[in-house]
C-alpha cells in the first residue's frame, strides 16, 4: 500500500509551531500511536485543535505533559485537570469553542467555506469580539473556518487506497478533521484490500487521506491496550 508509512516518518511531517487537528471524543477515536510518537519527539509550540485534551497522562494529555503544546482549541478541557492547571499557570493557551461550532468550523475549513453564521453562543462570553448579524430578526454570530497544517485521525480500517471506516461512535470529529489540513494522516487498526469496503460504506473517501499508519495498540475488553 503506497500510503502506508512508519509512524516515525509520519510525524516528520509535523513542524514546530504547526496547528494539528486531532480526531476523537475523549479517548474514543483518538490516534494514540501517533500521539505517543509526537510526545516522544522534541516537537514544540504546537497548537492542537481537538474536542478535548485527552485525560491526565492519556491521549492528548501526553502532548501536554511532554511540553509540546502552546495552545489548545476545543470544547471541553475539564476532563484533564492537568490542562486546567497548565492554563491557570499560564503554561497553555486555551480557546474554548462550543462543540457544534467546532465541528462545523472544521468542516468549513475542509469545504472551502471561510465562515458561517450560527445562533450558538450568540449573546454569551464566547461570542465576545465576534461579528454579529441579524437574519430574520434573530442574532447570529460569524464563526471562522478552522484549518490545520496536519490532521491526525483514527479509523478502524483503511483499504489500500486509503478509504476509511470507523468503529461505532468513533467517527466523531475524525470525519471533519480528515478534510481540513494540508496533510492528513490516518491511524488504523487494520488495512484491508481495496474492494473490501463497499462504496456505500466508505465514510472518509481516500482523496482526503495522504498517509496511513498502523495502530500499535490492540483492543482488549473494549479498551486499547499495549500489545
Amino acid at each position: 500500500m503506497k500510503k502506508l508509512i512508519e509512524v516515525s516518518e509520519a510525524i516528520d511531517f509535523i513542524k514546530d509551531g504547526d496547528t494539528l487537528l486531532v480526531g476523537g471524543f475523549g479517548m474514543s477515536g483518538t490516534p494514540l500511536t501517533l500521539i505517543d510518537a509526537i510526545a516522544a519527539s522534541d516537537k514544540k509550540d504546537l497548537t492542537v485543535v481537538s474536542n478535548n485534551l485527552g485525560e491526565v497522562g492519556r491521549g492528548l494529555g501526553k502532548l501536554l505533559d511532554a511540553g509540546c503544546l502552546k495552545k489548545a482549541k476545543g470544547s471541553y478541557f475539564t476532563t484533564n485537570r492537568e490542562a486546567v492547571r497548565a492554563w491557570s499557570e499560564g503554561e497553555l493557551e486555551i480557546e474554548l469553542i462550543p462543540q457544534g461550532t467546532l465541528a462545523e468550523a472544521v468542516r468549513c475549513g475542509g469545504a472551502g467555506i471561510a465562515g458561517f453564521y450560527t445562533k450558538t453562543a450568540a449573546g454569551t462570553q464566547l461570542a465576545e469580539g465576534k461579528e454579529e448579524k441579524e437574519f430574520d430578526g434573530e442574532t447570529y454570530i460569524l464563526e471562522r473556518a478552522i484549518r490545520g497544517d496536519v490532521s491526525i485521525i483514527k479509523g478502524l480500517k483503511a483499504d489500500t487506497f486509503g478509504n476509511i471506516v470507523y468503529d461505532h461512535t468513533a467517527r466523531n470529529f475524525n470525519v471533519a478533521m480528515a478534510t481540513a489540513s494540508d496533510l492528513v494522516i490516518a491511524e488504523v487498526d487494520e488495512i484491508v484490500e481495496v474492494g473490501e469496503i463497499p462504496p456505500k460504506d466508505v465514510v472518509t473517501p481516500h482523496l482526503f487521506i495522504d498517509y496511513v499508519v498502523l495502530n500499535k495498540y490492540v483492543k482488549k475488553g473494549g479498551v486499547y491496550v499495549e500489545q
Partner: protein, 216 residues
C-alpha cells in the same frame, strides 16, 4: 440533593416526554429519565454521533468506541444510526431534537439559563451545552431548587455567564414545576409539601401562580 429527590425530578420530567420524541439528555438528573418512561418509546440522541442510545452494556460487552457524550459505555437500540460530530450538530442546531433536558447552574425568571461556567472559577468546558440551548425545539431544566450552599439557583437575573439568549420552556425541581412564557414565569405545580410562600422564600426569581393547575 439525595437520590430519592433526583428520581422525583426525573419522573416528573419523564411525564413531559411524548411517544416518538427525539431527546437529548444532559449529565446528572436527566440521565435517570429513561428508567421512568413506562410505555413511552423515545429516541435518545447522543451528540458524539448516535441516535438510538440504549442502556449500559454488561461488562464483557463494553466497547469504548461506543460511548455516550458523557464518555460512558452504551449500547445501540434497534433502529439506531451512527454519524459524525458535524452531522450530529446539524441535528441539534437545526431544530431536529424535540427536547433537551439539561441541568443548570442558574435559571433566571425569563427562562435564560447559565449551565457552563461559574465566574472566578476556571471556565474550560462548554461541550454541546450552548448548541442544545440554541437549537433544541423544547428545553426542560431538571435541577435542584437551590445550590449546594442553599443559595437560590432560580434568580431574577443571571450572575453566572449565560448559555445563550434562547429561553427554556420549563423548570422542574424537587419542589415545583415552572413554565416560562413571553419573558415571564409561572408556577404550575408543587411537587413537595412546600407552600407557595415558602417556595418564594427560597426563590429569588419572581413568578406568577397558575390558579387553575394549582387547584387554588
Amino acid at each position: 440533593m439525595n437520590n430519592e429527590l433526583r428520581v422525583k425530578v426525573a419522573k416528573r420530567v419523564a411525564e413531559e416526554l411524548n411517544d416518538g420524541d427525539i431527546i437529548n439528555l444532559g449529565v446528572g438528573i436527566p440521565t435517570l429519565i429513561p428508567d421512568y418512561l413506562g410505555d413511552k418509546k423515545v429516541y435518545l440522541h447522543s451528540e458524539n454521533g448516535l441516535l438510538g442510545m440504549g442502556p449500559t452494556p454488561p461488562e464483557d460487552e463494553i466497547n469504548m468506541d461506543l460511548i455516550s457524550a458523557s464518555k460512558k459505555p452504551i449500547t445501540m437500540d434497534i433502529g439506531a444510526s451512527l454519524f459524525d460530530s458535524s452531522d450530529s450538530f446539524v441535528m441539534i442546531r437545526g431544530g431536529h431534537i424535540d427536547m433537551a433536558v439539561l441541568g443548570a447552574l442558574q435559571i433566571d425568571e425569563t427562562g435564560e439559563i447559565a449551565n457552563w461556567a461559574i465566574p472566578g472559577k476556571t471556565i474550560l468546558g462548554v461541550g454541546g451545552a450552548m448548541d442544545l440551548v440554541a437549537g433544541a425545539k423544547k428545553i426542560i431544566i431538571a435541577s435542584s431548587h437551590q445550590a449546594k450552599d442553599g443559595s437560590p439557583k432560580f434568580v431574577k437575573k443571571l450572575t453566572f455567564p449565560s448559555s445563550g439568549a434562547r429561553k427554556v420552556d420549563m423548570l422542574v425541581t424537587e419542589h415545583a414545576v415552572f413554565k416560562f412564557k413571553d419573558g415571564g414565569c409561572e408556577l404550575v405545580e408543587i411537587l413537595s409539601d412546600i407552600s407557595v410562600e415558602e417556595l418564594r422564600d427560597i426563590t429569588d426569581a419572581n413568578f406568577t401562580v397558575n390558579q387553575e393547575s394549582m387547584n387554588l
